[in-house]
Symmetry: C2
Subunit: 319 residues, 2 copies
Amino acid sequence: MVLAYILRILLTISLVSSFAVVARTQTLAERLGYPVGSKLIIVHADDLGETHAVDAAAIKALESGSVNSASLMVPCPWFPEMADYAKSHPDLDLGLHLTLTSERVYYRWPPVAPSDRVASLVDANGYFHHDWDAHQQIDAGEVETELRAQVERALRMGVRPTHLDSHQYRLIMNGRDLFDAMLRVAHHYQLPVFVTADWFVAHPYLQSSLGSGDIVLDHTVTIGPDVAAQKWADFYREALKNLKPGVTEFVIHPGYDDEEERAATRERATWGAAWRQRDYDFFTSQQFRDMLVRENIKPITWRELTELWKAHHSSAPPQ
Amino acid sequence: MVLAYILRILLTISLVSSFAVVARTQTLAERLGYPVGSKLIIVHADDLGETHAVDAAAIKALESGSVNSASLMVPCPWFPEMADYAKSHPDLDLGLHLTLTSERVYYRWPPVAPSDRVASLVDANGYFHHDWDAHQQIDAGEVETELRAQVERALRMGVRPTHLDSHQYRLIMNGRDLFDAMLRVAHHYQLPVFVTADWFVAHPYLQSSLGSGDIVLDHTVTIGPDVAAQKWADFYREALKNLKPGVTEFVIHPGYDDEEERAATRERATWGAAWRQRDYDFFTSQQFRDMLVRENIKPITWRELTELWKAHHSSAPPQ
């Protein structure tokens, strides 16, 4: 009797567990209608609106078709140029690159919200902080105020964003409170946020804050300061050759290595003018296009992901 | 008896009048220690901080020595570049170009003060208005708040301005209330403002608001949209040949006709990239230097005027 009871419990556990396995195997790629094992890629340009050199390079890369997604920095001086472009190219996949820092030295921008309402986000001169040090007290309520102001400015200026992501991953890597502020804003405006499962180990709160209807990409690839300039194409070639099945976002930073960009980024080489030119060069090259074909990698955009997100959230009216 | 009385009155009037004439003939040039009839010129570059193309051209023109004065736009994205330069070149003649508009379309900036405290100065997107139309209600109290915020940011960032002037002459041409707001800020920070007697006929409130200790330049020369591009040098040559005695400020707009400046100014040619390159080319040319010598024109700066201003106001402690 006891044995039969134990056996029944074990069987139940086994069934539940099997079901869980079945549920897990319904990957994001499958939910998008692609066969198991598909390698899907979003080639995403960051930082549009930051400088004209970034805007011009990103527009050219988007129009060449090899970069197929991007996001805009609303507080930045050149945002109006990108808003105008977005308005006249409504089919492009353009999101908002939510921005809480002004990381350069000779070229800076303030928040969109009135600076006295987001006091923890600004320095003594009224700009976003250059960086957040360990003792910086960033107020999550003020973060939410600023994020809403950024989305509202974008909407008012005619941008219809497809997704939200976070400049310098500030909203991803700085604790649950800031991530939840971004999620609330995303849900309010019915937009998916860029999160990948790659980040769950380091930042477990991401997974626990996300709801079942939220989109989670499988992987992300982005180049770092550890890669030497002459190894740039090698890095990307290796990443494409070793691409795992699922949806991967390549986070790239195209820009032109011209007078403006060199001056704007001159205090350090990381994500500087030459870096951005190298990204532009690789992702607009025939070599990159050929690799996508050879490796059977299919480009997708946030538009497809947004449809999925909306299908899940369709019952909820816009707030 | 009556005749003698009338004669005495006439004599008194004549003496007072003669004294007034004597007082008037103490020109600004003479107060600066120059002989009667001297032709003194300030060659003043406007709009520093607006773009890198303007900063780079202005710095080169200042270092060439033929442009000897300039003013900085504190709300603009590239102001930090100029603040850094000003800090490391404390002997240069750099003022603040008080700014209340964001006149371009694809590249814009907001006020320095929290936008909700200067509501009449900002558009729905939080930028300074592109332009002021006839029905715009600009609040003079908010203008003063913003001007103080601009001076405070400049001081905090290490700039020690020599003078104040007004971007697009907004604070000169829009009535007594705005001019008085600028004057109050100028007196508070013990700085002279750029005003010339040329403007008194069109804007009589300028003269009546100014106190006896305020500096008034005699003339100003600035090129306008009525001059064809190929007549640029002719216009300046004529202006130098016909320069009147006294202190004249040449208000010029040097900049480079490069990608950034072309993009930032592309909606109209006036004060655009090519315009600024023409100004740069003329005022850094040997032709211009030679004319100064030939026409016996002596360059002076706001530093000399500031000394005069301070000598008059030295009894007043800084507020």
